[in-house]
């Protein structure tokens, strides 16, 4: 097995992670940011699950015919992470909905422009901590 193939999963995980990061940093749309965050999250799934696979192994459900099983521990960690990921994604989406209702926009720039004067005033009074 050549070098690239031996680390392909890690490379792709890095690529997906950076893609997600780029989306979060660059895009102003809040829903797009959450999508980027989801991609980032899936790259972590990949990063955990890939080392768990053993060549010649099989899924960690015991049967008489098999000797080698892949590592079950990453599976346990990621299984719960996926469902928790949905719950947190829903929380983020709920925040987006409230932002849309409060500012009439889900573009980061619009929200900043509308909230900037008030924030500056409070920042001066309260030492930078918005209530």
């Amino acid at each position: 097995m050549n070098v690239v193939l031996a680390h392909l999963n890690a490379y792709v995980a890095v690529f997906l992670m950076v893609t997600g990061l780029f989306t979060v940093v660059n895009r102003g749309n809040l829903i797009k940011k959450l999508v980027g965050l989801s991609i980032f999250q899936t790259s972590v799934y990949l990063l955990y699950l890939s080392p768990g696979k053993i060549i010649g192994g099989t899924a960690p459900i015991i049967a008489d015919r098999y000797e080698i099983y892949s590592n079950p521990l990453p599976h346990v960690l990621i299984l719960t992470a996926i469902v928790v990921g949905v719950a947190t994604l829903a929380l983020g989406l709920a925040l987006v909905v409230r932002i849309q209702e409060a500012y009439g926009s889900i573009e980061e720039d619009d929200v900043h422009r509308q909230s900037a004067p008030g924030e500056a005033r409070q920042g001066g009074a309260n030492g930078g901590e918005a209530p």
Partner: protein, 350 residues
């Protein structure tokens, strides 16, 4: 079979799916129509689930299947319905983002050279606890599916925490979206809620084929969710997957027959009780173990035979997970789907 070994096929599948995932991710990032982004996200999730199964993570693949095929698409679309579907053109040069991404990418790629090669049985990750679990779990818990055994028994604290996180997320969504309203009033009221048969409200019920198809499909989804729940000791499955699948079944009903009709099948009040009830069942199982003279979440003392005790404990814990997960998913869907009406009422109340 042909001369190709199954391992090289798996490697090929792995590579192909990874490349397709890269293409799908690039598409997701580049498209500015958020509606299309959501649909491509669905394809991305299909690829991810297939890849997980190819990597022997069947339980994880099943979870990704249950989440990605239905509920996440539905959640994203309900939010798009409340906001807008078009992303504004970027106003900033992507310079900062590119620099940050490049730095992260280079450092991670540099670090990935130290990882053990893919599929290496001698990798450090396989030397420590995993062999222990694989050797002891079938004997101690009687469950052939090691993932279920580790999830519900050995790492029971962890899963209890995760279930609590799901509960917290659900509460957060409900607080944000149900907000100022009285709980029972808002979601159930509304024109379509009184007599969904007669109002002629546009809820896809004009398409006979869809309606009949959904009616046939719904019992299969719910039945299969129960199968996934109770077969979780022996095959891929468990409370998380079954909970999401059952909630998705109700969501299907809501999409075809209207949310108001679905709320007569699964009333809001029941769903809101389910959200904390599951965590209570989980935590209560732990307490039961303490009362029987063991440690918290130690199931061996729940019956005379430790293996039977483990069996009962895993069963109770998985049921708790099912109740919380299905309740939370459904409550979140109701909260998003009922947000328009909630907003009208908040506006009227001011």
């Amino acid at each position: 079979m042909t001369g190709v070994t199954s391992e090289s096929i798996v490697l090929f599948v792995n590579t192909a799916l990874l490349l397709l995932m890269c293409a799908a991710a690039l598409g997701v990032v580049r498209l500015r129509n958020l509606f299309a982004v959501v649909m491509l996200g669905g394809v991305y999730s299909f690829l991810m689930a297939s890849l997980m199964v190819a990597l022997d993570a069947v339980d994880v693949g099943m979870t990704e299947t249950a989440v990605g095929a239905g509920i996440s698409v539905v959640l994203m679309l309900s939010v798009l319905g409340l906001t807008k579907t078009r992303e504004a053109a970027p106003r900033h040069r992507p310079l900062v983002a590119l620099v940050v991404s490049a730095v992260v990418a280079v450092s991670l790629l540099y670090a990935s050279g130290d990882l053990p090669p893919f599929g290496d049985p001698a990798a450090p990750a396989h030397q420590h606890v995993a062999p222990e679990y694989l050797a002891r779990a079938p004997v101690e818990t009687g469950a052939p599916n090691i993932v279920t055994a580790v999830l519900a028994s050995y790492r029971g604290y962890d899963t209890l925490g995760e279930t609590a996180v799901i509960l917290t997320g659900g509460i957060g969504v409900l607080v944000l979206l149900l907000g100022a309203r009285r709980r029972r009033g808002g979601v159930r009221q509304g024109g379509a809620g009184e007599s969904p048969e007669g109002t002629g409200a546009p809820m896809l019920r004009d398409t006979v084929i869809l309606r009949v198809g959904a009616k046939i499909l719904l019992p299969f989804i719910l039945l299969f969710a129960l199968y996934v729940q109770f077969h979780g000791d022996f095959g891929p499955g468990g409370g998380f997957q079954a909970g999401v699948a059952a909630a998705t079944g109700v969501v299907l009903y809501a999409l075809v027959f209207g949310v108001a009709s679905a709320q007569r099948v699964a009333p809001v009040r029941v769903v809101l009780v389910m959200v904390p009830l599951g965590v209570l069942i989980y935590a209560g199982t732990g307490l039961a173990g303490m009362l029987a003279g063991g440690n918290y979440l130690d199931y061996s003392v729940l019956a005379h035979d430790p293996v039977h005790g483990q069996h009962w404990g895993i069963f109770a814990v998985e049921s708790g997970v099912f109740v919380t997960v299905s309740g939370t998913m459904l409550a979140i869907f109701y909260a998003f789907a009922g947000r328009r009406q909630a907003r009208e009422e908040e506006g009227a109340g001011r």
